[in-house]
């Protein structure tokens, strides 16, 4: 563990923090019992993936990927991961919308959002 951490000279620190964020989200999705809370954890997890991709695209001393005229050899950031992540953000908001609709429907019938209570009700 220590050897792993010491290998991060700062160059990979952002990847490490993205991994931490991902696992916080995963933990929340697995452990929290309230469905709305699970959804927030899901969003955290999705943002973690976006953070990872954006970290791949950054170039030190670089500029945003918008062309500056009359300046040769500018170190632009990589536009491809940015474009991909725009799609990923849309996917995450879509998933959240559908999940919330399911959530409201569940609540309308069972009057609870707690996972264990719901499972008990379903077995009745």
């Amino acid at each position: 563990m220590v050897s792993v951490l010491s290998s991060f000279g700062g160059g990979q620190l952002q990847y490490a923090l993205a991994a931490v964020l991902l696992l916080i989200g995963l933990y929340g999705m697995l452990v929290k019992t309230n469905f709305a809370r699970k959804l927030m954890a899901m969003n955290v997890m999705q943002v973690a993936v976006i953070v990872f991709f954006v970290s791949l695209a950054v170039r030190s001393g670089g500029t945003p990927p918008i062309e500056i005229e009359h300046e040769a050899a500018v170190a632009y950031a990589n536009p491809l991961p940015h474009a991909l992540m725009l799609t990923a953000i849309v996917v995450s908001v879509s998933t959240t919308g559908v999940a919330l609709a399911l959530l409201i429907r569940t609540h309308r019938r069972f009057n609870t959002l707690d996972e264990s209570e719901l499972l008990d009700r379903l077995r009745e």
């Binding site: 792993v4 991994a19 991902l22 696992l23 918008i66 474009a83 991909l84 849309v90 559908v98």
Partner: protein, 101 residues
């Protein structure tokens, strides 16, 4: 109880992810494969080929326009999904649970 078990499972996952991350090119490294293979083509040709100085727009709307079509379809799907699941006010989704004909 479940919480502790999950943490026990997640810590090795974290170690593995960190180990893998340590092998990736450093953040900001302009010589990594991500910067040397496909991306330079966009940076060199996007403006003249697509007329868009914003490279992200060039990639999003032109080179990978089909992904954007897919993205729009995803959000369209989400809209219809909410409509089907919750129904509208004048026509709440049918209570087809216990008394299905």
């Amino acid at each position: 109880m479940i919480g502790r078990l999950t943490v026990l499972l997640l810590i090795p996952a974290l170690v593995v992810l960190l180990q893998a991350a340590a092998e990736l090119p450093a953040v900001g490294d302009g010589t990594s494969p991500a910067f040397t293979h496909v991306a330079p083509y966009y940076l060199e040709h996007a403006h003249e080929e697509t007329g868009a100085p914003n490279f992200v727009t060039a990639v999003l709307a032109d080179y990978r326009g089909y992904d954007t079509f897919g993205e729009l379809t995803v959000i369209f799907t989400a809209g219809l999904a909410c409509l089907l699941i919750l129904g509208t006010r004048d026509e709440p989704s049918r209570p087809r649970d216990e008394e299905t004909p």
